[in-house]
Structures are given as structure tokens and as C-alpha cells.
Assembly symmetry: C5
């Protein structure tokens, strides 16, 4: 569960509501046509911009931000070192039994190829291509949010323009000018809040998540290549530990 995102969204909406309530009731900021033009316009533009399958994947992608659970880098390295030790002692074939227990599909596939005696170069090529593909899939996810982050304010402005034009065309009753203009501006408000409290931060978080996953895949990639090449487990551990970062194990370096 990604606590930061949930705290962020809840507190963000909270700050906006409190700010509103200090000056007026909430009702002033609810306007159905405004919601319709911003949400509808953003969705429509996004559907034109992306294939249907990518667009529909946004629910899955969003869930991922909140339910995201990534294996710890330490555990991945420990697991690879263990496999490496086993392979060193019992030969590459001895790790076959571990494959079934490996929950990570990327690692399982790589180990299977290792056991099958596929050449290091071919294993590396397949693993790297797989990584590149996952990276591209992630990119679709965050560029989708990023596009929505630029469409939302644009349709907010479109809605405000509609409201202003309608108000300006009928200035007969001066007492209605203020409220009408207020309603017109709410659409810009919606677009801006949606973009800055949801779409843009989500795009940034997804990009960060992608980097973390790719780092883990890189560790697995280097580990399996090292195992396939019969490198000493200790040297492999030394090389992979670099990925733990200054924060994770400051005493080690």
C-alpha cells in the first residue's frame, strides 16, 4: 500500500476544502456542466491520443500506484547469491528445482534458459529486450497520465470560455454577471486541481516506480549472467550490493 499517495490525495483535497469552507459553503464549487466538460473532454482527448487498450489500462495502472508492492532489493540480491552458491556447488542443473518456486516470472524465465544451456549472449539479449519492453509499457502508463495532466487544464479553459461567452452575450441583468462569471471560473479551477493534485503527480510517481522495477530487473539480469558465466558468488554480491544505495547500507561503504 502506497501510504504517501493516499495521504497526499486525502490531505490535498482536505486543504482545498478547508480553504473553501473558510470563505463560503462547498455548494458554490459544485457545477455539473463544469465537471462534464473537464472530465469528459479530458477522457475524449485521451481516447483519441491513445489506443483503446492503453486507455483502458489506466484503471490497472492507477491501482498499481496504490497497491504497489515491490520486492526489496536486499532480498533479490540475497536470493541471487543463494542460487549462485548452489550452482557453484551442484552445477547449473541443480538450480532447476528452484525455478518452480520463483514467483518472479522474469527471474524464472532467465534461470530456465540458464538450466537449458542457452548461450550467455542469447540469454542476455532476451533479458534486455524483455526489460526494454517493460520499460515501454511503463512509459505508456505515465505518458497517459502526463497527457491527461495537460488536457485537463486545457478543457478547464475551454469550459471557462464557454461560460464567459454566454455571460457576455447576455449582460441585461447586471446582478447575474458575478455569479455567472464565478461559475465560468469553476471550470478552470476543476481542470487545474485535477491536473496538479492528481494527473501530474501520478505521472511522476509512475515514472519513479518504473525506475525502481527496472533497477530490480537489472540486478536480476546481472545476477543471472554472472551465474551463467560461473563468476564467484562473493564477487557477484560485491557488484550487486552497489545497487543498495548509500541510504540502505551506509556502514558497508
Amino acid at each position: 500500500m502506497d501510504l504517501a499517495s493516499i495521504i497526499g490525495i486525502v490531505s490535498g483535497i482536505g486543504f482545498i476544502c478547508v480553504t473553501i469552507l473558510l470563505g463560503s459553503g462547498m455548494g458554490l464549487f459544485w457545477n455539473l456542466p463544469s465537471v462534464m466538460i473537464v472530465v469528459g473532454g479530458t477522457i475524449a482527448a485521451t481516447m483519441i491520443a491513445y489506443p483503446l487498450s492503453d486507455f483502458l489500462s489506466i484503471v490497472k495502472v492507477t491501482m498499481k500506484v496504490f497497491l504497489f508492492k515491490i520486492e526489496k532489493t536486499e532480498d533479490i540480491i540475497a536470493n541471487l547469491v543463494e542460487i549462485s552458491n548452489k550452482a557453484r556447488k551442484g552445477g547449473l542443473l541443480s538450480i532447476e528445482s528452484d525455478i518452480a518456486n520463483t514467483p518472479d516470472a522474469y527471474l524464472a524465465k532467465a534461470l530456465q534458459m540458464t538450466v537449458d544451456g542457452v548461450k550467455t549472449g542469447d540469454i542476455a539479449a532476451i533479458m534486455q529486450k524483455k526489460m526494454a519492453l517493460i520499460k515501454k509499457e511503463h512509459k505508456t502508463g505515465y505518458s497517459l497520465y502526463s497527457s491527461m495532466g495537460s488536457f485537463a487544464p486545457a478543457f478547464g479553459m475551454v469550459g471557462t470560455l464557454i461560460g464567459l461567452v454566454q455571460m457576455l452575450a447576455n449582460l441585461d441583468d447586471p446582478s447575474t454577471i458575478g455569479p455567472k462569471m464565478a461559475v465560468a471560473m469553476i471550470t478552470t479551477f476543476y481542470g487545474s486541481v485535477m491536473a496538479n493534485l492528481f494527473f501530474i503527480p501520478m505521472a511522476t510517481k509512475l515514472e519513479g516506480r518504473s525506475a525502481e522495477e527496472i533497477t530490480n530487473m537489472t540486478i536480476i539480469y546481472e545476477g543471472v549472467v554472472s551465474i551463467r558465466e560461473g563468476e564467484h558468488p562473493r564477487l557477484m554480491e560485491d557488484k550487486l550490493n552497489v545497487y543498495l544505495g548509500a541510504g540502505a547500507k551506509p556502514k558497508e561503504e
Copy 2:
């Protein structure tokens, strides 16, 4: 037929119309000079910015978005594996009969060179250059839309400035100020809607389409090189299957 684009455009226009109709009639948002300056100005600027042939290709490029039909990655791989098997059994010459039946010009040309005994390096060089050229042609397509997406709001603003200047120069009759300003703002509205509901999303979709086509060409490229080199069909399949992605065949990995 690209359903998402059609749903997007129809629903986008729908949302805007409904939003307008909730506040006034549609007539308020129709103004011929505004259409003229935005559409005319955008077309004029685009003609200056691109060669005539590129500019005229926009109809073809647009059709492509709506009629786009790309061969499935699975089918391409299956086809390549089949050819590879045939070549393995009957020799490279045995695939000559397939070339005539290959609808894809890129694959046909590559296979022809393979049958003709052109060296792998030369085949690879020609295929890669071809890919780079197609990529460049695609780029012209989406940068054209992208340019229009930035010209449209600019000419929207130019039109609004013209309207405002004309209104400000004649403030004699206060009752006409509102309607005149309304008309002036419609031009900005046109530019913004055209850019955000059409030009910018179309540019994004074309870029995505291009990536898909290039991926397919890359698969064909790798497949033909593999066939030319006499690699085992099973290994080739393993390598190409990576391109199917997590979504397409989750059970496989």
C-alpha cells in the same frame, strides 16, 4: 477501424455541445470570421512550415489514424517461424515461392535479398535504413499535427485580439460591448478546442502508431537476419516472443 479515436472525437464534441446547450443555444458559438482566421491561419502557417507534398499528405495521414489496421505481432512471428522452419528443411531457396504471397513489402524485399544470397551485413544495412526512413516519414506526419496544435491556439488569440481592438475602438454604445467581446472570445475557444480535441491528440496517436509499426518492422528485421544466419527456429521464436509483451501472453513468462 480505430474505435477509440472515433468515440473520442464524437464524445468530445458531444460534451462541448451539451455544455453549451445547458447555458444557451448553439448559435452563440458560431461565427464565420472566427472560423476563417483560426482554420485559415493554421493552414497558412502550416503551408509555410512544411513542403507542399508533406502538407498535402495530411489527408492520407489522417485517414490512417481512422482506418489503421496493423498486422498482429503474433501472426508476424508465427509467419517468420514457419518460413524459418521451411528454410531449415529445404534450404534458403525453398522460401522463394512464399515471397509472391507476402503482402508486406518490407518482408518480401528482405526475403528476396535472402534468396538472392545477399550478405547478411548488406541485408541488415538496407533493412535498417528502410526502417529509419519510414520512421522519418512517420515523424513528418505527427510533427505536422503537432505544429497545427500550436498554431491553432495562436491564431485563436490573434482573432481575439482583432475583435478586442475593434470593440475597444468603438465603445460608443455600451450595450454592444458584451456581445462584441463574446464574439472576440469565440476565436480563442475555436483555437483551443481544435488543438486539444484534434491536433494534439492526433499527433500523440500517430506517434504511438509509428512505434507499433516500427516494432513490427524490427521483428521482421530480426527474424530475417536470424533466417539468413540459419539460427534454430526455436531460438528465433524465443527471441521474438519477447516482443509479445506482458499483456499478450502473461502465462508464458
Copy 3:
């Protein structure tokens, strides 16, 4: 003669004029101080931003857009194939007579080096450096226009600010407020039209032109290297034909 650019500029100005005339006379949109601050400011800023020689080259660069005449890719390839055939039959020295008739300085220089027996690596190095230099010169051209495209609206706004400050400081006679503000806004109008109808599209076109010229130079480069290496003319033609693109010779691929 680049028809698209001329049609674009003429029709763009036409659309703006017609839009203006539908609402008022043209005289309303003529204001000398506004022209002065936008044109003068843009030129001044450009002179600070670029060396004098680059700035003065803008006339030449602009002429190039309108008088641009590039050799057809087909003709370049046909010519190279012919030379290749000649060299194959009569030896490298036999092409010396063609050099004097070669109008293209880049090709002539490359052939001269070939005849002189300069090593392939040295010819390639010199030709590539030459290409990089031409690319850089082109870049100066379009970045100059691009800079002007961002300075013009900025000085448009500066002019509008001047007008507004002067108007606001003297609000004594309310009847002059409108006309004064109209005049102030004309400066923004000038900056925006100049940028979007001239500077920005010209920068885009020059960038496209540069790409075309560089493609032709690349073809010549690859052709001469192929001739120098004694590659078979037929293979060379196959390789160079890739540059013709899908549009030029669809039947061939």
C-alpha cells in the same frame, strides 16, 4: 520556387485582412510606434543574441526558403550509379573527366579525392566533417528564426505594457480609454502575427530543408565510399534506392 511558402504567407495575410475588414477598416490596425517596438526590439535582441555575420545572413537564408531548388534524389542516385559503372569498367581514374562537369561542390571534392587515391577512411572522415559543418550552418539559420519567433511576442507584450501604463496614468477623459487600450493591444497583435505567420513556420521549414540537403549529402557520401571501395554498382543502387522512400517508388518495394 517554393510555392507552399508563398501561398502560405499570402493567404495567411489575406485571412487576417479579411477578418479585420469584416469588422472595421484596416486603418485601425496600423500604428507606427507598435511596429517600431516589435520590429526594432526583435532585431535588437537578435543582434545581441547572434554574431553580426549570422544576423546579416538572414536575408540569404530567407531567400533560400523561397528560391530553394534541391537536386532530385533520383537524379543523384542515377548519377552515382553511372559514375560507379564507369569506374568499374575504366578504373577510378576514368571518372576524372566527370569532375569538372559536376555542379555539386561536395560530390566534386569527394570524387577528386577518390581519383587522387586518398584512403577510404580519410575520404569518409573529410566528407562526414563537411556534412556536420553544413548541418551546423543550417542550424544557425533556423535557430535565428526560432529566436525571432520568441522575441517578437515578447516585445509585443512590452509594447502593450507601455501603452497600458500610459493609458492608466491618464484616465481623465473616459472616452479615450477604449481607443488607447485598442492601440496598446495592437502591439501584442503584431508580435503574435509576426511570430506565428512568419518566424516560427520559417524556422520549421528551414529545419526540414536542412534535413533534405543532409539526406542528399548522405547519399553522395555513401555512393562515393561505395565507388572508392569498388562495390558492385547494382548493390550500391539497391542500397541507395532505400532513400527514395515509400512515396517515391511504391512499386519497387
Copy 4:
């Protein structure tokens, strides 16, 4: 202690305060709801955009700007030359005693590997990966500030929109329009000052700091590789001195 940053922040706030005081009291520019929406919204959006650990590191990262103390490039080079001389005379093992005294963890680890007889290629790989990781950690720091620099003005505008809508909905008492609008604009003021006097400059400084640290790590990297390879200390010094820059030792070059 980073004097420039402290002078910058203090004088920046000073200039703003003096400008305000020349026109009114400070009280006019204090509004709690405005502070809440800008600060709160920016923090909320940043928490959604980054993992909790990264977000919490901002205090540490900020301290770093003010307390930043980097080892002088000259001292690093002198130290490496000394170690190189020692290793040349007494062999690689003779430098083991220095490792305990090396405060820099990166250098210590590298020397330890050298003494342990790890192959140059492996040392280089580990050191480069370490550098890449540190670079990524730094990047998180300055992209965090950079994101806050774009969220702050956005929430400033959101707050202003809230204020304007509330004001426009209640235009009954004309005498309150001015003050209410003043309050609404203060939120934009807060967002703009926070972004331009704090977040954006801090992001730039952190990026610069990162470059300095990476340069020092590069020097250590090259030095240790040179020592491991047994290169002459004098040549190593020549190579590393290049990093001192024109400003630091103009007479030397």
C-alpha cells in the same frame, strides 16, 4: 556553509519586504488560508509524486545546500598522487594502512578492492555503478525541488481561483470587492515567491552540487584505476590536473 544561498534567501525576502513596506504595511500580505492552500497543496502533490522516503529526505537534502562542504579537487588529486607514489615504491599492499584513514567511503572501498587484488575491470565496473547510483540519488533530490517549483504556482492559482469565485458569487457590497480580490491575489503571490525564490533556485543549486561531487568521484575513479594499472604517478597527475579548470590554476596550462 554555503554563503551565497543564505545571502540570497535573506536578501530576496528583504527586497520583497522593503518593496511591500514602501506601499503598505506587511499585514496586508498575510493570509492564513492562502498559506495553507499553497504550502499544503504543494506538499500534498509532492507526496503523491514521490515515494514517502524520498519526500522525507527533503530536509536532509535542504540542509546539504546550506552546510555543503566538498573536499577540494586539489586535495583529492594530491592525496591520490601520494598513494600512487607509495604503491609504486612499496607495491599495492603497502597502501592498505592508508585505507583506515581515508574518510571518503568511495575512495576507501576502491582502495580496498585494489589491495584485495580485484581485477581492474571489476573495480571499474563497481565504481562506475556506484557513481551512477549516487547521481540518481542526487537527481531525486533536485527533481523533488523542481516539482515543488511547478506545484507551488499552480496551487497559488488554485487558491486565487477559489477567492475569485467566492468574491464573484457575492457582489452585493461593492466596497468589499477590492479587498476580497486583494486577498485572492495574495495566493498567487505566495506561490510565485516560493517557487522563484526557493524551490527553483534550490533545484538549480542541487544540480550544480551533484555535478561537483560527481566530478570528484570521477577523479577518484580515474586515479584508482591508474594506481591499479601501475601507471606512472607523474602521468596520472598530468591527467587529473586537467580537472582543476582554467580558474583554479591558470599558470599551469
Copy 5:
């Protein structure tokens, strides 16, 4: 002396002054608090963004734009060809006497290493690193101006917001609204002029200057490597002449 920059600044200020004088006196556009907030705020933000030493170097960097004097490319090549000829006839040691007369530190250092018999690879490595460092120093210079070009309009807006808030809070006397608002807008005017007539063009010019210097350093680099390798002076001249460009020696190519 860089004439273009001086003409640009003088004429730019001239155009602005004349435009102002056509509408009012200059006094209307002088306001000390506005100057203070724009200049002060820009300086403060720049001090936070850059180390003190970089910030203080701005005077030197600015002088460089106006006093800039770069050695002609033709002279550099002629000089290198002469040295190459000497080295060819009298051996590498014969050029030692020239080193003392070489005003260019970069060339002198490179020749000294050549005479000292340093290996080509090491000379190349040192020269390239030196070039990369100079490039980085130049980059600091123009990114400093570029940052100021974005801070100035931002603080212009901050100042305008201050003025507007103060005006809106005291609308008692309608006759002062105009003048007060005029004063508020002057700050935006200052920020915009400073950015577009000074900071941004200066950043562009410095970037161009950097490219020119780096080109000259590249020529020296290639020349010295050619001399060290004992390449024929004529071939070296051919290779270096490419850098002269189409404009400099059109007849040659």
C-alpha cells in the same frame, strides 16, 4: 569588440525610449521599488541557484561578450600546418622552440606533451578532457544568464502582484486607481525588458561563442594528434580546411 551586441543593446533601449516618448514622458516609467524588486529578486534567486564563485564570474563573462576576440580559424590551421611541416623535416623535437611563442595555452600544453614523447592516446585523453571542462565552464556562464532570464519576469510579476494587492485593498479614491495600477504594471515591464533585451539574448550569444571556441580547440586537437602521428601536412591541411565552412572559402570546394 563585439559590435552586434553593442548596437543591439543601444538600439533596443533606443526603440523602447522612442516608443515611450511618443506617448508620454520618460518619468512615468521610472519607479524605484519596481527596479528594486526585479533587480534584487533576480540577483537573490541567482545567488541561491549558483555557487558564489559562479555568480561573481558574471561580470567577467559579460565582459567577454563585449570584448570577445577569437583567433581566426584560418590562422590556427596555417599555424598548425607550419608546425607540422617543421616536425616532418626536423623531427618532433624541432618544434620545442615554438612552444614558448605560442600564446594559446591549450596548444602550448599539447605541443609540450608531443615533444615530451607522451603517447598519442594519453595526449588525446588529456586534450579531450580539457575541452570537456572548458565546455562545462562555458555552460555555467550561459545557464547563469538563462536562469536570470527566467527569474526577471517572475519577479516582475511578483512586483506587479504586490502593487495590485495594495491598490485593491484601498479603492477609496477612484482617481488613484489608474496611476497605482500603472505603477504596478511597470514592474512586469522591467522584468520583461531585462529578460528579452539582455539576459536571454546574452545566453544565446554566450552559447554561440562557446561553440566557436570549442571548434577552434577541436581543430588544435586534431592538428596536434595528426602531428604526433606523423601524418602528411598536406592531408592534415585538407582535413582541417573542412572547418573553414562554405562561407569562408567557397571557391575551395
